[in-house]
Amino acid sequence: MERRIKIGGLICIVIFSLLLLRLGQLQIIHGEDYNRLSDSNRIENRPIPAPRGRIFMQKNGEPIIAVSNRLAYSASVIPANIPPGELERICQELGRLLDMDPSEIEERIANAQRPLPVRIKRNLTSQQLLLIEENLSMLPGVIIEKIPIRDNVYGSLAAHLLGYVGEVSLAEISRFEGYRSGDLIGKNGLERYYESYLRGVDGVRQIEVNAHRMEIATLGGRDPQPGADLFLNIDLELQKVAEQVLEEKILELQELAEEDEELLGGPTGGAFIAMEPNTGKILAMASYPTFDLNLFAGGIAREELEKLQNNYHRPFLDRNLQITPAPGSTFKVVSGLAVLKDLSVSKTRNVTSCSGTFSLGPQEWKCWRDGGHGNLTFFEALAHSCNVAFYRWGYELHNEGNDTIQQVARDFGFGHLSGIDLPNEKAGIVPDRNWKMDNLVGPWVPGDSVNMAIGQGDLQSTPLQLVNMINTIANGGYLMQPYIVDRVVDLNGEILFEGKPQVIKTPDISRDLIETMQTALVEVTEYGTGLRGFGDFEPRVAGKTGTAQTVPGQANHGWYAGYVPADNPEISFVVFLEHGNDSGFAVDVGRAFLEHYFPQEEEAIEE
């Protein structure tokens, strides 16, 4: 018995020696490896999204903030932290708490680039935040992040111009460098065009987490660098006025159209642009219908986006530069110059007459006024916007065998991009012999020139090109590059980019002819188609109306392009009413806008 007890003691010593050896193996030999493992257990690097640069408009020459950031709570998932087999349950639970489709959440997690957090919902309501926080212990892998989201101070103001941000698409990831899935990117407008400036550099936060992957402490990290700020030429008050007068008129016409069948349903949209004549600075740029940018702040819900996308009036379309309707009679500024340049017509004597129709073989074109305008001087033809006179001149120019109208049109910016600092601009079309051969497979016939002289046919232009055209007359013959951003300034106040006035082109038109056209445009107001709207307006407005025909059964587009004051222009502007039926309504919009810019005393007394 004693011997066996001694053996027992020996066994104890042996076992404990073995345990000690094992201890040494774990702690001394493999100690460093286990140290690393314990650190990777507890340390996580989480990105801190950088706030995007802010966007400032102007108010009385001072910057005023239009787009900023605010902190929001995001329900995010760190895929690596979801215990195996739990994914489906967590997606179900999140879907229930956030009122989302669980399969959508699962899809987003599946598409994510590990180990980054996948932001399932960026802008939690306080109730959702509470729900998630209460259930966090049942949702391993789910975290609540504080992230900056876009705050559009004025909601829908300048929505098309400013644009919105959204998560990068797969296509964008492969197209642009430095983006990972889940990152935000400007989707359109200035947010897109100036993306590289607006986007900051994300920071990183090294945190300690516990076994439930819940954050315990911050260990260190790197602060995010905010993006650079944009300072726009856009004048806040003018922008507000532009949008307001445009919307009021369109709503008024839509209401009228409900009773008046001749309006064919009323306008479907509109555009307004105001530009500074000598610089090309865009002062206001409105497109209707519009949408609330703040819908996109936290990522827009799928159905809400689809609703907007499927809206018949296409609110996402920037009608300033993404549509190309026919310019109609506003184009007579260009064809008029071609006439003055090539046909050496007298400015004072009657040079043409209008009987109401113009015939060419079997074809017949009508003037907009039944019975015609009678004998006309060049000025009268333009002031009354007589179609027959321009048909005839178009035909004469055609017979000369050159394409002066096209040349002048191109000199005034038609047919190519203006180069404005916004994405997705359309170039429009200046049709000519080659274009017609290439695109419609047919020869250029006299009728094409006839149509083109009044801004119809295959001619297409954006409202932006029209304001640029009228602006070239206003400033005495310089096609300016339109631009919105005055400067980009980083956090340290350093100017990274500065917008400067740039002459794109000096049209091959003599100063003399430009001044003649300026006179003609004043006469439009004094006794022509602008009389009703601007006849009594102080200071004098110069400009041209236009009613562009569209497809049969749809209302015409209404146009007005002008500048003011006529003798020393401060502002050039264009009004476009999509299916607005009559240019007169466009003139109304222009007048309503100008009344804010130049308050009319008489008006006040009359009222």
């Binding site: 027992g8 104890c12 345990l19 094992r22 201890l23 001394i28 257990n41 300690e208 516990n210």
Partner: protein, 375 residues
């Protein structure tokens, strides 16, 4: 009650001192292991453990007043009583709650299985003390039966504890002089048999009286990487904790694995992982040394005991401690499958602590009465 003043001069304070040392280490580690909440200092576990320790030390003192041979006289009563408590508890537990292992007396909850261990040791000591060098078949059968009953009763809920009974039987038969060759072959045969049974279960689906989790713990012991977030998790995280302690440890209350809850059951079964992480190789080696001294002291008492009964009793108690210590520490370091055995004196758990201190009292008792001169 047979004792006198001279007897207390024979009291060797080494054993209670070692126990006290271990209890203090335990209290410190429990307070560290329960600081997992970032909000403030949490003490309820430490307080409860202190109460259990005080009760335990009082019981230790009280038990020295009774001559240990009285335990032999009442062996059936003591064994039967412990077994009755166990059965009673099992019936209550059968009501549905799986982890129902304790009996509540007022605010105190007690796990009768702890007491049953002592009951079995007393039973075996008595039966075997009646035999001379040759152990009769009758005695052997009694021993087997006496161990098998609690073994089978507990097996269903607590594989680790039922293995303790088997190990106690093994140790005591050996000390009592049962032929080593038979013991070795029987144990070896049993281990191989169980191993074969498990293999048969895995390959051919043969019925096995183990629960899914018990089986999985054995399987992940061979291959912890198989289920790193499930059954392998405890083992992996425990090894990371101990390993990352290096030589000096991360400092008391500085263990990231424990503070951030990566170690499961860290104040009970995996308290050694916390100690290994926070005090490093040095701290863990010191603890191992204290345990070794405790066991050697226990065997020493067995060696010096006045009679065969006392010798077997002391050896049985020492064997019980040894098994717990080896299996628990081995488990945290991945050299033994994960079982629910606590680390004696250190793990949080009132029943085990008081019972273990009571057992120390029994050892003291045997030691105090080692010389015939007092009787």
């Amino acid at each position: 009650m047979r004792y006198n003043k001279k007897m207390f001069r024979q009291v060797d304070i080494t054993l209670p001192f070692l126990a006290l040392l271990l209890v203090c280490i335990g209290l410190i580690m429990i307070s560290s292991a329960t600081q997992t909440s970032p909000e403030g200092w949490q003490t309820p576990h430490v307080q409860r453990q202190m109460v259990s320790a005080i009760i335990g030390f009082l019981l230790m003192l009280v038990v020295t007043f009774f001559d240990y041979r009285r335990f032999g006289d009442y062996y059936l009563f003591l064994y039967g009583g412990a077994l009755a408590l166990l059965v009673l508890n099992l019936f209550r537990g059968a009501g549905g709650v799986a982890a129902q292992r304790s009996i509540s007396i007022g605010p105190l909850a007690f796990q009768p299985s702890e007491l049953t261990k002592l009951g079995v040791i007393i039973l075996l000591s008595y039966i075997l003390s009646q035999e001379r060098e040759e152990i009769s078949v009758t005695a052997l059968s009694k021993c087997l039966l006496g161990t098998a009953v609690p073994f089978l009763l507990i097996l269903q809920n607590d594989l680790g504890t039922s293995l303790v009974f088997g190990f106690i039987l093994l140790v005591m038969l050996y000390i009592a002089g049962f032929p080593g060759f038979y013991l070795l072959s029987a144990t070896g045969g049993l281990v191989l048999g169980v191993f074969g049974w498990i293999l048969a279960h895995l390959h051919w689906g043969v019925w096995l009286p183990l629960k899914e989790y018990q089986l999985m713990r054995i399987i992940v012991f061979w291959n912890p990487g198989m289920d790193p977030f499930g059954y392998g998790y405890h083992l992996i995280q425990s090894k990371i904790a101990i390993g990352s302690g290096n030589i000096m440890g991360k400092g008391l209350f500085g263990g990231t694995q424990s503070r951030l809850n990566f170690i499961p059951e860290q104040h009970t079964d995996f308290i050694f992982s916390v100690l290994g992480e926070e005090t490093g190789f040095i701290g863990a080696a010191i603890l191992l040394t204290i345990y070794l001294l405790l066991l050697l002291k226990g065997l020493h008492i067995s060696f010096k005991a006045k009679d065969r009964f006392g010798s077997l009793l002391a050896a049985g108690i020492t064997g019980m401690f040894g098994f717990h210590i080896f299996v628990n520490i081995g488990m945290t370091m991945g050299v033994f499958p994960v079982t629910g055995l606590p680390l004696p004196f250190v793990s949080y758990g009132g029943s085990a602590l008081t019972t273990n201190l009571l057992a120390i009292g029994v050892l003291l008792n045997i030691h105090m009465r080692r010389q015939k001169i007092y009787f």
